[in-house]
């Protein structure tokens, strides 16, 4: 069984497409790139793709992951170093493969192995000092109780154990950017829930949200779920990458494109 794990972005206008849409985009891109993807057997064969944690529609990400299983015959010939480039040619602007690595047999699935995610959350209308006070208070609290309605019933959770870190990463044009590492278990905490929990009296508005990283826990330390020499960018300023994605989005002058 030949499997690859890919890391890719979801940036710009594309952030408005859903997790299901992303799956379809991938299926088409892999066919366009002529990748020897393995298919399930049976009445309705499906490509063997495994996606990680879903990203909410509207959120951006620097660190989405996807496992692809290839057919044993032709899959052996795939060169992992040129894989990102080969796929990026077929992917829409904003979805860029930034790393690829073969998966060792027996590697846990993304759903099973990811333990936390790091988010950059924009809080519009509040100065860094104000958000900092809220973050400090939240981290000092013993419990952060959040009530939500689930399947018609009110459910109360303590979010505090799921908040692994909170840092102010700077002012933005309209407010403050907060970086948060949030645990995935026992359930994935959403950025909007974090904002409700740390400011129960005055619900904070969720601005732009960017997933910066996903983490697995192994040998007492956190790791990216992909063994690679290309780490996700820690640089708080992701704009250059967004700009690059947008630049790639520029179509050719339409006359040439139609003539081509």
């Amino acid at each position: 069984m030949i499997r690859f794990r890919l890391r890719h972005t979801k940036l710009g206008k594309l952030r408005f497409i859903s997790h299901r849409d992303i799956a379809r985009v991938w299926e088409r891109a892999l066919r366009k790139a002529d990748m020897p993807v393995a298919y399930t057997a049976g009445f309705s064969p499906r490509p063997k793709l495994a996606f990680g944690l879903a990203l909410s529609t509207g959120h951006e990400s620097m660190a989405e992951y996807l496992d692809i299983e290839l057919r044993p015959d032709e899959g052996l010939e795939i060169d992992v170093t040129t894989l990102p480039e080969r796929l990026n040619e077929q992917l829409p602007p904003g979805i860029d493969v930034t790393a690829a690595a073969p998966l060792a047999p027996g590697t846990l699935s993304l759903q099973e192995s990811v333990t936390s995610c790091t988010w950059r959350i924009e809080v519009p209308g509040l100065a860094p000092a104000a958000v900092s006070d809220l973050a400090t208070a939240a981290l000092a609290a013993d419990a952060l109780v959040l009530t939500r309605v689930r399947k018609g019933k009110e459910v109360t959770d303590d979010l505090r154990p799921a908040i692994l870190s909170l840092t102010i990463t700077g002012p933005t044009a309209t407010g403050t950017e907060l970086e948060a590492e949030l645990a995935v278990h026992p359930r994935s905490v959403r950025p909007a829930e974090l904002l409700r929990a740390i400011s129960p009296g005055h619900p904070l508005v969720e601005g732009r949200v960017l997933r910066v990283a996903q983490w697995t826990w192994r040998d007492g330390a956190r790791h990216e779920p992909l063994a690679t020499s290309q780490p996700p960018r820690e640089d708080p300023d992701v704009r250059p990458r967004v700009a690059a994605a947008v630049e790639r989005a520029q179509p050719q002058p339409f006359g040439e494109r139609l003539l081509a």
Binding site: D21, L30, P45
Partner: protein
């Protein structure tokens, strides 16, 4: 022109399915506008999911962007949540390509494929910041144009449209663009001059240039108001589909839409002669795309788009010359490629085709017997025998399909309860055939109420009342209630009533449509928004009645609201076909038998473009006779004219 994206972006975070509004499709263009260019905004007046796959709109999008002096972008009706936000924030309708405001385009061109979208047309014009009534528009306002099948009776929208295009758009679109360009070049003043020039183009109808007088419920006369305005507007017909291999770059959306697959049109027009079918009447003659071009468009399209499914589209794809060969070639050109053939005639669906289709994934198969008894099918000239249907269903189930969908109409002329209940009998027998092959066999029966359409032999027929249609639906529901493996679905007879109002209405409906829109009646084809009372109230407020508009039989000599428009069909041919229908007499398919002069070819000096001189093998091929060996032209029909 400026992009509204910065203002739209924060709103999209608050709406359902924001991917509807981002554009970014593979194949989308971001045309740059040069001075003097005519900027077209092609608007589909329904949601993005319904509108994006529309082939007509995609063809015009490419053609206009290739045409010197024109650019085109696309817009779709924003769903009610975004519409409310747009209005609250003072933002207009926008293009999805560059997010430019609709009001900055020179032309708003609507695709009209269903009557229930009419109020959405008004809403989109209004959201563009343009006066909804054509008479209120100033020189600088965009020209509002419509095309598509509903324009064969554009009278209900006459007050709102500056111009209407009849027939195939491929050639006429450039002529219209050039006329607008030269008007713009001359300063863009005197809108009336532009309308007069547009009316000179064959296929273009300018409603404001005609006077309509009424006589009770009927139209008394329709006459040009000025010298030089044609008394009769003829549709446009592209003679050779092979010259128009469009769309060359089918748009691939990022979010799920209907018909989310590669679509290749294999022929246009249909001469099977089903009497209820407006599409088959107004798109004559048959023009097949060369088989090699079909193969090229499919293989290049699959490679470019990454789709694994291709639909060969037409009004009756099994009639395409050499269809088995073409489907076989497509299935052979890649792994896991599935082919779907919408609009399958049961008498042309054979084990051969079923076997070819099973190369890829097997989705459901849909057949349209349309009526439950042979007598009824003779009336509507859909001459398929019960044996044809059973053979097709048997072929499907034997080749591994588990789900078959059957389409029927009820409320057809001269229909009795025996005819209606014949639908249940067919469904029962089909399910039994399915169970011979698989225990999970499922037959879905989908029944719609019949709406008489302009330019068909049934244009004189008084539609069944909503109450009568409901009674028939209940009859079927009760008959099928305990039937194993049969699901029954029906179209809301109340919606059928409103379709009937718009289908054959005249200009007096303009005020009704406007009132329904002003009272919030948008997205009427969506059951959660449809509101019959809005329509009934508006009719009453304007002194109109459903009896006159919908339920009334028209007389032979009556002037119909679309009599000044022409799809080539002779009115006396249609009348004779209507009399033949009531006499239960069939009419053969003229692509394989001698011409009966309906007018669609002879009037325009056209001919069928069909590769095969004989019908495909299998079934009865519209003759009611056993032609399972195929390849021979039937000379006599069952139930020939006495």
């Amino acid at each position: 022109m400026t992009s509204l994206w910065p203002q739209l972006e924060p709103l999209l975070a608050q709406v359902e399915k924001p991917a509807r509004y981002i554009g970014c499709e593979d194949g989308a263009l971001e045309p740059t506008l040069s001075a003097g260019d005519v900027a077209w905004l092609l608007v589909y007046p329904d949601t993005y999911e319904i509108g994006l796959p529309n082939q007509g709109l995609q063809i015009l999008y490419e053609l206009l962007n290739e045409h010197a002096g024109a650019i085109a972008e696309r817009a779709y009706a924003p769903w009610t949540d975004l519409e409310a936000l747009l209005r609250d924030n003072g933002l207009p309708l926008f293009s999805v390509d560059t997010h430019r405001p609709a009001g900055e385009f020179d032309v708003l061109a609507f695709n009209l494929s269903a009557e229930l979208v009419y109020t959405n047309v008004l809403n989109c014009i209004d959201l563009a910041g343009v006066p909804v009534r054509a008479a209120d528009r100033a020189d600088h306002d965009p020209i509002v144009i419509a095309g598509g099948h509903c324009t064969y009776n554009p009278e209900p929208l006459a007050d709102f449209l500056d111009a209407v295009v009849l027939g195939d758009g491929e050639e006429v679109i450039a002529e219209i663009s050039d006329v607008i360009a030269s008007w713009k070049g001359a300063g863009g003043v005197e809108r009336q001059q532009l309308l007069m020039s547009l009316a000179q183009i064959t296929g273009v109808y300018v409603p404001s240039l005609y006077d309509v007088r009424f006589d009770g419920p009927a139209v008394a006369s329709i006459e040009p108001r000025y010298v030089g305005v044609p008394a009769r507007i003829e549709k446009r017909t592209v003679t050779d589909l092979g010259e128009w291999p469009y769309p060359k770059h089918q748009l691939v959306p990022l979010t799920e839409v209907v018909h989310d697959r590669l679509n290749v049109e294999v022929f246009r027009g249909c001469t099977r002669g089903c009497r209820f079918c407006q599409a088959g009447m107004i798109t004559r003659p048959v023009r097949e795309r060369p088989a090699d071009q079909v193969r090229t468009m499919v293989s290049e399209g699959l490679r470019r788009t990454g789709y694994d499914e291709v639909a060969l589209t037409s009004l009756s794809t099994a009639d395409f010359s050499g269809i088995e060969q073409v489907v076989g070639d497509i299935v052979g050109c890649g792994d896991n490629i599935s082919v779907s053939l919408p609009s399958l005639r049961v008498d042309a669906f054979t084990v051969g085709i079923a076997n070819q289709l099973q190369g890829g994934r097997r989705t459901g198969l849909t057949f349209a017997p349309e009526a439950g008894t042979w007598r009824m099918r003779q009336v509507i000239n859909k001459l398929i025998r019960e044996e044809d249907l059973y053979a097709a269903v048997d072929a499907a189930f034997s080749q591994g399909w588990r789900r078959v969908k059957l389409y029927f109409l009820t409320g057809l002329p001269s229909e009795t309860d025996e005819d209606t209940l014949g639908i249940a009998a067919l469904a029962r027998n089909c399910a039994a055939i399915g169970r011979k092959h698989t225990s999970g066999a499922s037959v879905t029966v989908s029944v719609g109420g019949f709406v008489p359409k302009p330019f068909t032999p049934f244009q004189w027929f008084g539609q069944n009342t909503a109450e009568e249609l409901t009674r028939k639906m209940y009859l079927l529901r009760d008959a099928l209630r305990r039937e194993r493996g049969v699901q029954f679905k029906w179209h809301d007879p109340k919606a059928t009533l409103v379709e009937g109002i718009a289908s054959r209405g005249d200009r007096r409906l303009g005020a009704v449509i406007e009132q329904v829109w002003r009272r919030g009646g948008t997205f009427q084809e969506w059951s959660e928004h449809f509101d019959l009372n809005l329509w009934l109230d508006a009719l009453a407020d304007h002194g109109l009645s459903v009896e006159d508009l919908v339920y009334r039989h028209r007389a032979e000599g009556e002037t119909l609201p679309w009599d000044h428009l022409s799809a080539g069909l002779h009115k006396d041919f249609l009348w004779q076909d209507w009399r033949d229908a009531l006499a239960e007499v069939g009419l053969p398919d003229c692509r394989w038998t001698p011409c009966y002069d309906c007018g669609a070819c002879t009037g325009y000096a056209l001919e069928h473009v069909v590769a095969s001189a004989v019908p495909p093998a299998g079934g009865s091929q519209g003759t009611g006779q056993d032609l399972s060996t195929g390849g021979w032209v039937p000379v006599e029909l069952v139930g020939v004219r006495p």
